[in-house]
């Protein structure tokens, strides 16, 4: 695999390979990757999972958003070699068989795309947005950063700002995320919401593991 042609390897040094294991959408893969390869390139080129898109390759557009250990990340800036053992979900893994995830269904109901190129990233990102809000994570537009946030429109716009849509389908994307958020909140009992808030209250070690949604799968 040619990991990246943008700045070619003028040094003439041979590529370095490393063995890693990735769990992608529940399936384990053993791979020998070039140390320079990003998760994005490995998913697309080695595993044929082309749902995840490359927009900018610089962390600026979010088209490459995937879930790593249940948390959203830009695949283009993540070195595969640094993610040995990681549990990854891509857009291909969001549905349960033929049953779309609530967000996928909401995107269709609300017509939340035009060309669709940004959509896999939007879906993975929004999946994590719902989870982060359920954990009580604030955003920069949360009026009181110490309080429990409500996922209203300004919050959704801010939290989704790492995902650019060149077609400008933002109005319907926000509507779709709002709809999925409202359904999720309605489906969750108040006690569970409080528990989620308390969980976010503890001193966070990094990578608090997969979300409940992931673990339940």
């Amino acid at each position: 695999m040619e990991p990246d042609m943008e700045s070619e390897n003028v040094s003439g040094e041979p590529p370095v390979r490393a063995e890693i294991t990735l769990i992608v959408n529940g399936r384990e893969h053993r791979l020998a990757v070039d140390t320079r390869a990003s998760l994005l390139d490995v998913l697309r080129e080695e595993l044929g999972l082309t749902g995840t898109k490359k927009g900018c390759d610089h962390g600026q557009c979010g088209a490459c958003t995937i879930l790593v250990g249940g948390r959203r990340a830009n695949g283009c800036l993540a070195l595969a070699v640094a993610h040995d053992g990681a549990d990854i979900v891509t857009v291909e893994g969001l549905a349960h068989g033929d049953e779309l995830s609530p967000l996928q269904a909401a995107f269709i109901e609300r017509d939340a795309f035009q060309c669709g190129y940004c959509t896999p990233g939007q879906l993975c990102s929004a999946t994590a947005v719902l989870d982060e809000a359920a954990r009580g994570w604030p955003s920069v537009v949360t009026p009181d950063v110490a309080a429990e946030p409500e996922l209203d429109e300004p919050e959704i716009r801010e939290r989704m700002s790492g995902n650019i849509c060149r077609c400008g389908a933002y109005v319907n994307i926000v509507a779709a995320v709002r709809q999925a958020a409202a359904r999720e909140t309605a489906g969750r009992r108040p006690t569970e919401r409080q528990a989620a808030g308390r969980e976010a209250a503890g001193h966070g070690g990094a990578g608090q593991g997969p979300t409940e949604r992931e673990a339940a799968r």
């Binding site: 320079r36 070195l79 110490a146 790492g162 966070g204």
Partner: protein, 328 residues
Amino acid sequence: MRPFTYERARSADEALALHDGDTHYLGGGTNLVDLMRLGVERPARLVDVTRLPYDRIEEHGGGLLIGAAVRNSDLAADRTVRERYPVLAEAVLAGASGQIRNQATVGGNLLQRTRCSYFQNVTKPCNKRDPGSGCPAREGEHHNLAILGHTPHCVATHPSDMAVALAVLDASVRVRGGSGERGVRLDEFYRLPGDDPSRDTTLDPGDLVTGIQVPPLGMASRYRKVRERASFAFALVSVAAALDVADGKVLDCRVALGGVAHRPWRARRAEEMLRGAPATEESYLRAARAEMEAAQPLRDNGFKVPLATNLIVRTLSELAPSKPGDGS
């Protein structure tokens, strides 16, 4: 991209031992991988420091010790940080995107490089990337570069929002080097460019950041950032401020600016003027103007002077709104 070997350090000692001249420590990689792809950084070895045991936020001497491997998003979500140091949570949340904050580490955030477009373009001269080659930004594209503390050698700004909050918190950086562990006050951690812009900090090669010590604050605090779009953009100007007011008078006050200099800019002059002054918009404005007297805007970034002035006034006013009849 130049090929490199990858090692995962299990202890600080191992990380230090694995670091030879041609090495970079790897945090989340959100800045380093990008710079390697652009050819700006060309290490032969990466030493991954994200699995070192510095992934906790702990109580420490009445304040907090924040591990270098803590992810930006976990720092901003931490209940204690949100309650006791809102300026820090707000600053982290004002930076980058939800995705990037999940990947980025505290250590990497501190040590991210400038976003000056010439620095990122290896076909251009740049004293920071290629010492002695010149600084095209001075006469070129510099509308988002420095107005304070710059030299003819470099007019770059430090891009981190988090670091501006840490400056106002009087934080110090825990560093592991060849001669053991030391604490470096944020003031002494970041450099002004002087005649050697190649160094952003006073760290020695191979020094490992293990954490950040934040002393107790005991004042209201907040972070405000102005950018060219509503979200997901670097600061044009930002302000971190902490303020303690009693009986309409400023008891204590700290202000730091982002987006204006090669390092987070502590507005010491403004702070001095404000201590003991009436907590009114007039005082805030007088102090902000006095601080900005030192500004030397470039051809296209003079707008940052009134922007910074107004943002200081606005942020302080939000922390302690002046009541009618107060001192003025």
